[in-house]
């Protein structure tokens, strides 16, 4: 099977193509983005300093000048540190889906307290969160953790609006994390609504869903801007971890997004076992691209099966009130996709030009435009 000669993405990745040297289109995408944003180069730094100035100006007279979404993970924690270095006055915002691990809570505490940054948290009702999680399992779709991702964005945006802040900083780095492959995974607010309507039992009262209407409100009326500092400046995850450990006592939790138990279940059990999806290739490929990990090493890791934590599976069954039989039925049951449910996907595709303009104006992230406004590759066939 064809594997990229530069990273480790293989031919099974949707939408992938290879050039004459065998280098994949995702590597090319990362290269293109590096060029556009001049990542780690003086031009990129300059552009970013400009953005910082804008943020400071816009925030004058307000209590905070930017909002930073935090999870206790490497990127967001590092961003808090850097924000202070850049002279910004951030408000840390956390969406608590009630499945945080102790290490995540501790990391958030250590970093925000050491750096003296205020933290605003939105906690969803645990019964509602669990009901939505259970609904996604019963629906047989891979996007188990969609509610966390959507809830996070909605909370970021509504908190920014509450404090009249226009700039939202995100810790995504295409170099360190890669662009997630256009996969079978998709999520939006309508998708969550549809699945919940069919399988949910608890009324959604506290879950911060991002409906199209809300989305347009934030984008057009509040005009919040998403800034990704790590797209402009040099960033290495291992180095960031070291700095965080030394300056705040932050601790590494051992894997992408493993600081939250629900996300951990998605990546280490549900996706691999039911859908044969192994998302470790995102970060592994990125590490190979940036020279942190040798390609052979990465391939070896990727080819070793994920070892699921039996305690995590027990916790899922207990917390979501699923019997052993029902759990087995879910794991071996039919595999569905977002196409079996009502979503906003077609609408986003129809409005492609509109969102392109919004992305250009930094009103929606460019990655949003790339991911949502194009038909997913397996439809192109």
């Amino acid at each position: 099977m064809k594997i990229c000669t530069r990273c480790i993405y293989d031919a099974t990745i949707p939408g992938i193509s290879f050039d004459e040297q065998g280098v994949c289109s995702y590597c090319k995408q990362v290269d293109d983005l590096s060029k556009i944003y001049q990542t780690g180069l003086p031009e990129g730094e300059k552009k970013f300093q400009q953005i910082i100035l804008e943020i400071k100006n816009a925030g004058r007279g307000k209590k905070y000048d930017c909002v930073i979404g935090v999870s206790g993970g490497t990127d967001s924690s590092f961003l808090l540190l850097k924000a202070l270095e850049w002279g910004l006055r951030p408000l840390a915002v956390h969406y608590d889906n009630t499945w945080n691990s102790a290490i995540a809570s501790e990391n958030i505490r250590k970093v925000t307290n050491k750096l003296k940054i205020d933290l605003s948290t939105y906690v969803v009702d645990n019964k509602e969160a669990d009901d939505i999680f259970r609904s996604f399992l019963l629906a047989g779709v891979p996007e188990f953790d969609a509610s966390t991702d959507i809830g996070f964005v909605q909370v970021l945006r509504s908190t920014a609006a509450k404090y009249k802040i226009k700039h939202i900083l995100e810790g995504h780095s295409f170099k360190a994390e890669g662009i997630s492959p256009q996969g079978k995974n998709y999520f939006d607010g309508k998708y969550i609504e549809s699945i919940h309507r069919q399988y949910g039992k608890v009324k959604m009262k506290t879950f911060p869903n991002l409906t199209f209407f809300q989305f347009m409100k934030w984008v057009l009326i509040y005009r919040q801007q998403f800034i990704r500092p790590l797209w402009y400046i040099e960033y290495s995850k291992p180095e960031a971890r070291k700095i965080l450990e030394e300056s705040t006592g932050w601790a590494y939790y051992g894997g992408h997004h493993l600081e939250n138990r629900a996300t951990s279940f998605l990546h280490t059990v549900y996706n691999p076992q039911k859908f044969d999806i192994d998302n470790r290739n995102w970060s592994l490929a990125a590490e190979v691209r940036s020279g942190i990990l040798p390609r052979e090493e990465a391939l070896k890791i990727y080819n070793t099966p994920i070892v699921p934590d039996p305690e995590l599976i027990m916790y899922i069954k207990k917390r979501l009130d699923i019997s052993d039989n029902d759990y087995n039925a879910i794991m071996t049951g039919p595999k569905r996709s977002f196409r079996n449910f009502k979503t906003y996907k077609k609408r986003f595709e129809r409005l492609r030009l509109f969102f392109y303009l919004l992305a250009k104006g930094n009103l929606v992230p460019m990655s949003f435009y790339l991911k949502y406004c194009f038909p997913l590759s397996d439809e192109k066939k």
């Binding site: 499945w99 925000t112 307290n113 933290l119 605003s120 948290t121």
Partner: protein, 253 residues
């Protein structure tokens, strides 16, 4: 003896964790089981769960949740909320809780305390008293989640509870709760002076210094913490945490 116990007092309303201010409105905090897991990993000294609305809402204790909590905890646990008879108390103890907490039931059935103490030992009975200052400056006791004023005064009630067999007293200041302004040292002191059993000061902690003050000036044997362990800081977001161990050891002894 090691440094004094610092006990997160978590308020349960059926299946959710909440936090009230001055026994008034309460704010949603999160999932009790996950929170317990976090405290477990933080190796806190002890946990106290109080289902503050169980009696008023005429609900029995939620044994299912208590069972799940006990399975996750490798430190002492106490539970209070609608414990009206010895059988319920025994059931809770056998699930894996070290102590049961009695508040409202003590007014209508004081002998319940003696009954539980004689079977399971007084160390398994924590009596909780909610106190506030009235307009004459005297400390009165309330029951039913602070909604009903009782006729006895705080010190008298504490002495009575000790006589009935309580192993410990949890004294919560209704005026100070959730305010981050420090414990009510005066009422804690008057009660601690009047009884020989350990008194846990509760309500109002805003800093480790507040804890040190109430231990030193009021003679409390342990402290309860609420807001401090569920919020990042006063006025800010929910964040389950526990004060830094080294700092606690240094300031509290």
């Amino acid at each position: 003896m090691l440094r004094t116990r610092v006990i997160p007092c978590l308020q349960l309303v059926n299946e959710s964790l909440v936090k009230s201010v001055k026994f008034g409105k309460y704010h949603y905090i999160g999932d009790p089981i996950n929170t317990v897991r976090i405290f477990n990993e933080l190796e806190v000294d002890e946990l106290c769960f109080l289902d503050i609305r169980a009696t008023l809402e005429k609900r029995p204790p939620n044994f299912e949740i208590l069972h799940q909590i006990a399975e996750e905890c490798f430190m002492p646990l106490s539970y209070g909320g609608a414990i009206k008879d010895a059988i319920t108390a025994q059931k809770i103890l056998s699930i894996g809780f070290e102590k049961i907490v009695i508040n409202t039931a003590a007014f209508s059935n004081p002998l319940l305390i003696s009954e539980i103490a004689s079977h399971s030992g007084s160390q398994s009975v924590m009596c909780s008293m909610d106190v506030r200052k009235n307009i004459w400056g005297k400390y009165e006791v309330c029951s039913h989640d602070g909604t009903k004023k009782e006729t006895v005064n705080a010190v008298e009630w504490a002495i009575k509870l000790e006589q009935l067999g309580a192993g410990e007293l949890l004294v919560t200041s209704m005026d100070k709760e959730g305010t981050w302004s420090g414990y009510d040292v005066a009422v804690t002191k008057s009660i601690a002076n009047a009884v020989n059993i350990p008194v846990i000061a509760n309500g109002g902690a805003g800093s480790i210094q507040d804890m040190a003050d109430v231990l030193r000036f009021a003679g409390a044997s342990a402290v309860g913490v609420g807001s401090m362990v569920v919020y990042q800081k006063k006025g800010m977001g929910v964040l389950i945490n526990f004060p830094d161990k080294d700092q606690l050891n240094h300031i509290l002894k």
